[in-house]
Amino acid sequence: MKLTPDSKILIQGIAEPLAATYTARMTAYGTKVVAAVSAGHGGQTLDGIPVFDLVEQAIESVGAVDISIIFVPPYSALDAALEAIGAGIRQIILITGGIPPLDMVRLLRKAEATQTLIVGPSSSGIIVPGKVLLGTHETEFYSPGSVGLLSCCGNLTYEVAWEMTRAGYGQSIAVSIGSEPFVGSSVVEWLEILAGDKNTKVIVLVSHIGSNDEQAAAEYIVAALDKPVIVYFVGRLLPQEKILGPGNALGFWRQEAMHASPQAELAAEQTPENRKIAAFKQAKIPIAERPSQIPDLVKKALKKSG
């Protein structure tokens, strides 16, 4: 990710109600939103931001942009992202959630071929407290500091940030990689990025049972990361047979079921959450039981690393 307070930002889907609200907040936070796109709204100006019908027209007018933030409805998100990639944008944040997985397959094939970084879907975006806001993070829970917050969750991220802020531990950056089973950039990719960020001294990872790459994250932390990491992992006490709804984050279960139905025959020790917890325990990575415990673990980690 190439991100500075001067990064030039494009908003796709500015006419959506959510986009209008959050674009104003981003601008107020000092984010350089240089242009916006919503077909049919070209030629307008919203909060001082010029609006175009096409991404290509926006870039012709304002020059290259660094990051596009997408707010369009779920079934239009693939098209919007392909349009951004086609216009040469290589960093995309998908705020939109509920994008059908097969659309994500197509998008990620394209992203891999063009080396485009995709954050999300269903992401709150990225915040560098006090400097830049890209997305929908509620800024009042954050404060500047040296904790890198990496989250596979939505507003549980605020809960964790708030506990740290109240305890006096500000954040170097907070990244919401998206809470759906299918996300673009992974925990490991972001651990690599934060490993190279000199403002980040300790990393807090917030995750849930629906996410997929914990095992890889644990392995990466042990093998290659020289910054301390603290994990807070939710959904551990949701009994498998009690999960009834089609919540996005729980999609992983369905896959397990597909491979080994009937579900009931899965032995308890083989359940995904137990496998994940085991991976972190084995790697001796501290696991928080609740958000209020995180500041203490951060304190210990900072003391240890000197």
């Binding site: 409805p73 997985p101 809960e159 006490l237 009931a264 958000p291």
Partner: protein, 432 residues
């Protein structure tokens, strides 16, 4: 969401995947007009697995046998679910059985083709021989042929089975499915193929762009969640509110965000409480909300949770900025006022006493003064967070609710109220 077998087979038939002649049976008397020659198989149409072992699949040689078998199956719940329909199907003698599936691998972020040269009920044997081919780029037939070769098939079966796999893949992509499974795929002595059982899992996020699948979904038996919190409101109006249910619990949770819900369930359990039902409202649940529908969702969720007599305490944690928190408090206030005015035996408005408690005490217990008639509703515990709490504290202090700015404290409070409610209930039932 899983489709029922007969619905899956309808889609197979449309796609040209071979299925047996079959007939849907809505009532055991429908068997008098059966179009399929005997012997037939009658199959319970429930979503649970293990139907055979549970007695949900029976053979019949004639009409009398068939009616008796159908009556038995209609009255047989499988994992708690009674069938609304049965499937009557011709009997088929297979010499070999395979397993085939198309699904998404979320780690690889690609569709995968799965196949085993051993199909049927013995899942261990299926899994042991399971082969996988990742559809890494645009699909083409060779991916399917590759799978059949990995399965160890030879001769004419290579082409015939890979044709079935290819059709499964098209079904998968055209309908945005999460999974298509055929188990078993029967092979006759002459090499003819037949999908003897099938499972289709549709993707809920994609449902609205597949009206035919959406209408199938609308006809599905009610979920346990819908039974627990009946509502007059069109379920299609909002995207699924997060659903989670524990039949032994008495604490209702209302929050905005799936992960936040998981965190709260973990916290309540860890502190010795029992959550019953968790509803999620807000942007995350819907992807695309206008302020109006946000308010409506909140009201709907409050209604559903407070109508549930099993919920003694309602723990509310809506994390947002100050303006959002203020709105949540206002909605709860209006809701409680309305409830009180709607109660026929107490037509007077709730009296409000403002001010006295110190807003600095995070555990102000206004609820102790709650009017008697509010006891028909669960007790409210509201958690608030943010940097400008005074704006929300003042109106809350005048309401018959408990509140805290600490999540741990709010959870603790909810649990102690729930335990007290359970105790007083068992005490009053002893008196009776």
């Amino acid at each position: 969401m899983d489709l029922l077998e007969y619905q899956a087979k309808e889609l197979f038939r449309e796609m040209g995947i071979p299925v047996l002649p079959s007939q849907r049976i809505d009532h055991s008397r429908d068997l008098k007009g059966l179009q399929i020659p005997y012997p037939v198989v009658l199959k319970s149409q429930v979503r649970a697995g293990g139907r055979g072992r549970a007695g949900g699949i029976r053979f019949a040689e004639n009409t009398i046998d068939a009616i008796a078998a159908a009556r038995t199956i209609f009255n047989l719940p499988i994992l708690g679910e009674y069938p609304q329909v049965l499937l009557a199907e011709a009997k088929y003698d297979a010499t070999r059985e395979f397993y085939l599936a198309v699904t998404l691998d979320y780690e690889l972020r690609r569709p995968v083709l799965l196949g085993s040269s051993q199909g049927g009920m013995n899942l261990e044997a299926v899994m042991e021989l399971l082969q996988q081919v990742v559809v890494d780029q645009e699909f083409s037939s060779f991916y399917a042929r590759h799978l059949t070769l990995k399965m160890g098939l030879q001769g004419a079966l290579i082409q015939s089975v890979s044709t079935v796999v290819e059709k499964m893949y098209h079904l998968f992509v055209q309908n945005d499915l999460d999974g298509v499974e055929i188990n078993p795929l029967g092979v006759s002595p002459t090499g003819e193929l037949m999908a003897l059982d099938g499972k289709i899992t549709v993707n809920d996020a994609a449902l609205r762009r597949h009206p035919a699948l959406a209408s199938l979904a609308a006809k599905m038996p009610q979920s346990d969640i819908a039974k627990e919190t009946p509502t007059e409101i069109d379920p299609g109006k909002f995207l699924p509110i997060q659903n989670w249910l524990n039949r032994d619990g008495n604490i209702g949770i209302l929050c905005n965000g799936t992960s936040l819900a998981m965190a709260m369930v973990d916290l309540v359990y860890n502190a010795g409480g029992k959550p019953r039902l968790c509803l999620i409202v807000g942007e995350e649940a819907s992807g695309n909300l206008t302020p109006v529908s946000w308010r409506e969702q909140l009201e709907q969720a409050l209604e559903r949770l407070t109508q549930n007599k099993n919920i003694k305490v309602l723990l509310v944690n809506i994390l947002g900025n100050t303006a959002a928190s203020q709105e949540v408090v206002a909605v709860i206030d209006e809701y409680l006022q309305r409830k009180v005015s709607e109660m026929p035996e107490h037509p007077q408005r709730m009296t409000r006493r403002v001010g006295t408690p110190s807003p600095k005490d995070p555990r102000t217990r206004i609820g102790d003064r709650r009017p008697e008639f509010l006891s028909q509703l669960p007790q409210f515990v509201v958690r608030l967070a943010g940097s400008e709490l005074d704006k929300t504290q003042e109106p809350l202090a005048a309401m018959p609710v408990h509140w805290s700015d600490s999540l741990d404290d709010a959870v603790e409070q909810a649990i102690s109220l729930a335990k007290a409610a359970a105790k007083s209930r068992s005490a009053s039932s002893t008196k009776l």
